[in-house]
């Protein structure tokens, strides 16, 4: 299981969002740290095949991320997402299960299972537009997990979650990281400190620092602040 990001850049007319970034991800949880505007979302979108790099290449086990084969093992939670107004939580999951190619019966069982896991089972029949921010976020996480992805990309997944939901989330992600590649971005260092094995730090579209991070390495937050003071 290897996600290779090879000298990837994304350039817009007057801005370079991502600048010649290279990294290789393996199974486990990788935290992507950086301030807003550092290029995290752009990078993640490129990893998901939603955005094409201006130069460079991203492959998963040798397969370019633009291919359909890759999408079938991908799970993605964007920073923001909407929903058709008539959808209930359950409808939302079933819709995406269908788009992920899951047969109907399996989709129903898997949706029920995930709604339980993220704690939305009792509101599954209600319309998504009645959900709170945290609830919608949890629904988004459930959607990303539908097809048991080998590559899970989460863009600011903990925004809007209360402390207890955060803890549940960390446990869930830790579990998934045992057999999948998980990349989660955040600007809240404490979110990744305890669950990420590997850290990527971005600033102005560049990779500032990358490496393993163990509990014994001390406070990630302090290190992060030090690095960014430059």
């Amino acid at each position: 299981m290897e996600l290779r990001i090879d000298r990837v850049s994304k350039q817009y007319k007057n801005k370079i969002a991502v600048d010649r970034l290279s990294a290789t991800l393996h199974a486990g949880v990788t935290g992507l740290l950086g301030a807003n505007g550092a290029g995290k979302t752009t990078l993640m979108r490129m990893i998901c095949g939603v955005l094409t790099p201006t130069s460079g290449e991203i492959t998963y086990n040798g397969v370019p991320v633009s291919e359909e084969r890759y999408r079938s093992v991908l799970g993605y939670l964007p920073q923001e997402f909407g929903c058709y107004p008539e959808f209930s939580g359950r409808d939302f999951l079933l819709y995406f299960a269908a788009l992920k190619g899951m047969p109907r019966n399996e989709a129903e069982i898997r949706s029920e299972e995930l709604l339980e896991t993220v704690g939305l089972a009792d509101v599954s029949k209600k319309r998504v537009r009645t959900y709170s921010g945290g609830m919608k976020q949890r629904l988004g996480i459930a959607q990303a997990l539908l097809n048991r992805p080998q590559v899970l990309i989460l863009d600011e997944p903990t925004a809007g979650l209360d402390p207890m939901e955060r803890v549940r989330f960390r446990e869930l992600i830790g579990e998934i990281g045992k057999s999948s590649i998980v990349l989660l971005s955040t600007h809240i260092v404490s979110d990744v400190e305890h669950i990420a094995d590997h850290i990527l730090m971005m600033k102005n579209g560049q990779l500032l620092w990358q490496g393993e991070w163990k509990e014994s390495d001390g406070s990630l937050e302090e290190f992060y602040l030090r690095e960014f003071r430059e």
């Binding site: 007319k13 359909e68 079938s72 991908l74 997402f81 788009l99 992920k100 190619g101 899951m102």
Partner: protein, 256 residues
């Protein structure tokens, strides 16, 4: 507890394994099975995709076409200008259809839909094919239905109905390629109204003009121009749609 359940519990005392399967190994395997299923599934399922999208196309979209059918049925008898009047309604139908294929963008679902196995591209294709074909079938049906009351051939009637429809679709698709069009999805609605007026919405001055132009063409035996034009328009629409969708499989600068 039922007898069966008690029985089962008892038997499980013996049959339940002391050593459970390795959960990590199991998860990894199930993931692969899922992928296997999907790779196979997508091969045989363009038609499944179509079925899925049929389910997710709103009722209003279907109804719009049927409404026109109804109106056609009501106003044709004894009305010499009926064809143009019906034709004037078709731009609105085109607008509704076009909007329906772009619903993902309107509701912020597009980014997510781009990352699924059946991505946004196939969703749009599917919706376009389904609704487009449905609309044209309804228009063809109308043409057949009213042939008794109308002085022209079925094909010519169909050409009359299709031209404004396809013209609107072309306009909407071209509009979509511009920044303005993308941020103002209802812009094509305005376009539809304009074309509608041009076709013969009798309340507007352009109406009689279109009608007399039409009559001239037919009388002079150049009606076939309309038929050819309809076919060309159809090809244009399809080509435009394909290029548009191809461009939009990834996010564009302005949208992000």
């Amino acid at each position: 507890m039922t007898t069966e359940a008690k029985n089962r519990e008892l038997l499980l005392l013996f049959f339940e394994p002391d050593e459970k399967p390795d959960p990590a190994k199991k998860e990894a395997f199930l993931k692969n099975v899922m992928t296997g299923q999907i790779t196979r599934a997508t091969k045989m399922t363009l038609h499944r995709m179509l079925l899925i999208q049929v389910k997710y196309i709103r009722k209003t979209a279907w109804l719009a076409a049927l409404m026109i059918l109804l109106i056609a049925a009501l106003i044709t008898k004894g009305n010499p200008d009926s064809v143009l009047q019906i034709a004037a309604l078709t731009p609105l139908l085109a607008f509704v259809t076009e909007i329906e294929t772009r619903r993902s963008y309107a509701y912020g679902m597009a980014e997510l839909e781009m990352t699924t196995a059946f991505s946004l591209r196939s969703i749009r294709y599917a919706r376009f094919m389904i609704l487009g074909l449905f609309d044209m079938a309804v228009l063809a049906g109308i043409s057949l239905l009213i042939r008794k009351y109308v002085a022209m051939s079925v094909l010519l009637t169909l050409a009359h109905l299709l031209l404004p429809f396809l013209l609107t679709m072309t306009g909407a698709l071209l509009l979509e390629r511009t920044a303005f069009g993308r941020s103002h999805p209802y812009g094509s609605g305005v376009l539809a109204l304009l074309i509608s007026a041009g076709t013969g919405f009798l309340l507007l001055p352009a109406g009689p003009l279109a009608m007399s132009l039409n009559k001239t063409l037919i009388m002079q035996g150049y009606a076939w121009i309309l038929e050819i034009a309809a076919v060309l328009m159809l090809i244009t629409v399809i080509a435009l749609f394909c290029t548009n969708v191809k461009q939009e499989t990834e996010m564009t600068t302005l949208w992000s």
